[in-house]
């Protein structure tokens, strides 16, 4: 069943999370709507990756709620969250480096029961988008270049046809031409109706392709809105130039209309 357009696909509500006793996120609230690209920007250590980890169930939120596709997934186990259609491509890709490209793609559908036609359709779609993966199908994933690894990580997620794909620093360490390819792949996924939650250091490039954006600082969301407005606004400056964005900036929850 599709989430009606008025309801966000993913909604984090006042989420606190961290590592052990260290609290990183404080009352973080964000929404991701169907078929939109949402970018999270902020300096290193602002809590962007921790937020993705909390959303995918790797770090259990200590308070707050997360709903995805109308279901409460707060504190759910990672494999249940993956099963619900929320996929997380972690920072550094985290591929199975010793297994072949094909095996990595196949592991993307682990636990799914696909008909042979459906399976082949998905594999073909991946090969259309990333022909290089077909060429290198028998090589170990660890032998691929950074850009190819990023493509493989996205391909792995595509096997599951997620509703929402979270990408953590997909451009990290990539040559500019590969960054273009990865961003193009993200746009093509959106064209197929997949929502994207993107954490990206290349802020300008990310804001160019994004629909919505949130700015994070010190574990809080200090601004949110249309990507174009965020690109022009002060919060971005504050977050990157080191001015103290006061927590009050987060104010009432901002939502995309």
């Amino acid at each position: 069943m599709k989430v009606p357009p008025s309801l966000p696909l993913l909604s984090a509500n006042k989420v606190d999370a961290g590592y052990g006793h260290v609290r990183v996120l404080e009352k973080v609230s964000i929404d991701v709507r169907q078929g939109r690209i949402v970018v999270l920007v902020g300096r290193n250590g602002a809590g962007k990756s921790t937020l993705l980890r909390a959303l995918s169930g790797l770090n259990r939120p200590t308070s707050g709620t997360i709903t995805f596709d109308r279901r409460d997934i707060t504190g759910a186990r990672p494999n249940a969250i993956v099963g619900a259609g929320l996929l997380h491509v972690a920072e550094g890709r985290r591929l199975f480096r010793r297994q072949s490209v094909t095996d990595n793609i196949e592991l993307g559908r682990y636990g799914l029961r696909l008909t042979e036609q459906e399976h082949d359709r998905r594999v073909n779609r991946i090969h259309e988008l990333f022909p290089i993966l077909q060429e290198k199908r028998d090589l170990p994933a660890g032998s691929l270049s950074g850009g190819q690894q990023q493509m493989l990580a996205i391909a792995q997620a595509m096997m599951r046809e997620p509703k929402l794909l979270m990408l953590d620093e997909p451009s990290l360490g990539l040559a500019p031409v590969l960054v273009d390819q990865v961003l193009a792949a993200i746009l093509s996924l959106r064209a197929q109706g997949v929502a994207i939650l993107l954490v990206e250091q290349m802020v300008e490039r990310a804001l160019e392709i994004a629909d919505d954006a949130y700015v994070m600082q010190n574990g809080r969301v200090i601004a949110g809105g249309l990507a174009a407005d965020i690109a022009a606004g002060d919060a971005l400056q504050a977050a990157f130039m080191g001015e103290h964005g006061t927590p009050d900036h987060s104010g009432p929850r901002w939502s995309v209309s």
């Binding site: 099963g83 199975f96 010793r98």
Partner: protein
Amino acid sequence: MDFDVITHGIVAGSLYALVAVSFNILFRPTNVFNFAQGELVMLGAMIFASLTSLAGLPWLVAFAATLVAVGIIGLIEERIAVAPILARSQTGTGWVITTLATSLIISNLVGRFWGPDPILVKPPAPLSMDALEIGSARISSYEIALVLITLILVAVVERAYRTLRGKAVMAVAEDREAALLRGIDPGSLGRWSFFLGAAFAAMTGVLAAPILYASTSLGPDLLLKGFAAAAVGSIGNNRGALVAGYVIGVTEAIGASLLSPGYQEAVIFVVVLAILLLKPEGLFGSPNARTV
């Protein structure tokens, strides 16, 4: 030194290889080395001996019942002795103590069920333990079958790792968190691996019984030599375990014939230590297999 030494070494080495494979099955998705594995082999031999020699069940029925029973014991061990420790910390090493404790508990409890006398277990017909003269070697039809079955079992286990579920196990072994993000449940794979690893250990016990006799003191010896085979063959590598099993079995046999049987364990461990000093990752592992 006659050729017999080599054949005996290969036969004993096959058993060590099987114990090593059972270690590996369990180790891959959990990173846990089950020190109770030797006792699980012993339980396999003893339960099977009781069901056939004493209760008179047909070979196949007893075989299946033994595997399931010991598999369940392995599963119980995982639930009680291993899962709680891994839940606290994935990199915790408390399982060294808890699996060793499981081993001690099993070896102490079996004395209540079985006496100290070894039980003779006959191989299934038409195989027998009667020695055949083949050239200068004396080997029984059962021993030949055991060597062949070991080869087949290693091939079957390796084949299982090429299925999607097997690849998921390898994925968990490489990066547990990354596996979680692909919808793989390492907990469930860990439980299955304990069940299957324990059942495999029991099968090793059943296969060993006609040669070694079923006895409650079977465990520690097979634990040590199986561990040695797993380490020399590189932990997690089943083909390596097979070759290492042969190396250890033959070394042991040669040591016993050249020196005296009393020194055979000393000879094994000198060789094992020498190999591991030169190649700490074992004969078949790459030194940097665990890159982060």
